[in-house]
């Protein structure tokens, strides 16, 4: 019992898995929960810089698995949020240093200690993906509203089902409302219809994500930003709350809402 183990994956690289993991971890910890996030991308460590914790790494995931340190020693505590921890990936090793059963064992050890374990999966469908899926209680698939990302998301959703970790829930990242309105970007509804899984969040394309990542200060710390708000909403849905989806469209949507209300 105890923690919920959630793996964030996508198939395609560069759609925002690491950003999503970091921000959900921040949002959950901000709500007072105890959270550990694990960078599952062995050899391509990144969650540490996105969280702004890169200077504090002593031990990593592979050190724990190979017995060079205790689990506690590899958990970097965030100074901004008392209840947020990171277990970084090893940078000088590759995916074969970890097995699915290593990950299951490690997460079982964490379950009694924390409320949430969030695992950032590497891109691709090979060993690294299998390692991060194995301990998951549930899976979040991140995609962008464009053809290659949606296609890869569909593959991953199928694999998650095949591993009996389904049904995955969907996060659509980098939605550009102006392009969508113009008919030049797949809408969230289009993507949900194509992939036929449950939606748990829509994140607008927001320059604040880039700015905050530059500073190692995830955007979820800033509740005024639209993307920060969207991540906070996903965290709340993970906790079982019903949260309406945000409108990113500004004025016209305000009017269409008025019409709907009548």
């Amino acid at each position: 019992m105890g923690a919920n183990v959630i793996t964030i994956t996508s198939g395609k690289g560069g759609v925002g898995k690491t950003t999503t993991t970091a921000n959900l971890a921040v949002a959950l910890a901000n709500a007072g929960d105890k959270v550990v996030c694990i960078d599952g991308d062995i050899g391509l460590r990144n969650l540490d810089v996105v969280l702004g914790l890169e200077n504090r790494i002593v031990y990593d995931l592979v050190d724990v698995i190979e017995g060079r340190c205790r689990l506690r020693q590899a958990m970097i505590r965030d100074k901004r949020l008392e209840e947020l921890y990171l277990i970084p990936a090893a940078q000088t090793r590759d995916k074969s240093a970890v097995s699915p059963s290593d990950m299951v064992k490690l997460c079982d050890e964490l379950r009694s200690e924390v409320d949430w374990v969030l695992i950032d999966s590497p891109a691709g469908i090979e060993r690294g993906f299998r390692n991060t899926i194995a301990p998951a209680d549930s899976v979040l698939v991140v995609t962008n509203p464009e053809v290659s990302a949606v296609r890869d998301a569909d593959r991953i959703i199928g694999l998650v089902e095949a591993e009996e970790k389904g049904p995955a829930r969907l996060i659509i990242n980098r939605v550009n409302p102006a392009l969508t309105k113009r008919g030049d970007m797949l809408s969230a509804d289009d993507v949900v219809e194509l992939l036929a899984i449950k939606l748990i969040g829509v994140i607008p394309d927001d320059e604040n994500v880039i700015i905050s990542t530059n500073r190692g200060q995830p955007v979820a710390f800033d509740p005024k930003s639209k993307s920060g708000q969207a991540f906070t909403n996903i965290a709340s849905r993970l906790k079982g709350n019903e949260v309406p989806f945000l409108d990113f469209d500004g004025r016209e949507d305000f009017f269409s809402r008025l019409f709907r209300a009548n």
Binding site: E146, V147, R151, T180, A196, I197
Partner: protein
């Protein structure tokens, strides 16, 4: 000029709906692990087997792969030729 007119008068939803239509087809083939040409072979063999037993109206046959949630469904609508039409004349 004519391009400009076309731009305004044509369907503005062009590229997103293109993306959606293309993805629909790609996902069907990805999920069934079947290429379009394998699909074509399946259709032909299916018709061949059926026509061994009854005469079918090949011009009106419709065999399609549809998405039903995360499941794929092969739907075949195969009109049979009636004895009369086949018949005497």
């Amino acid at each position: 000029m004519s391009d400009w007119v076309k731009q305004i008068t044509s369907n503005k939803k062009q590229s997103a709906s293109d993306a959606k239509e293309r993805l629909k087809l790609v996902l069907i083939h990805d999920r069934t692990e079947m290429t379009p040409s394998e699909m074509e072979t399946l259709k032909n063999e299916l018709l061949e087997v059926i026509s061994r037993h009854v005469e079918i109206d090949t011009t009106a046959v419709r065999i399609t792969m549809n998405q039903d949630g995360r499941e794929q469904r092969l739907t075949a609508d195969i009109p049979l030729k009636s004895a009369r039409r086949r018949g005497i004349g």
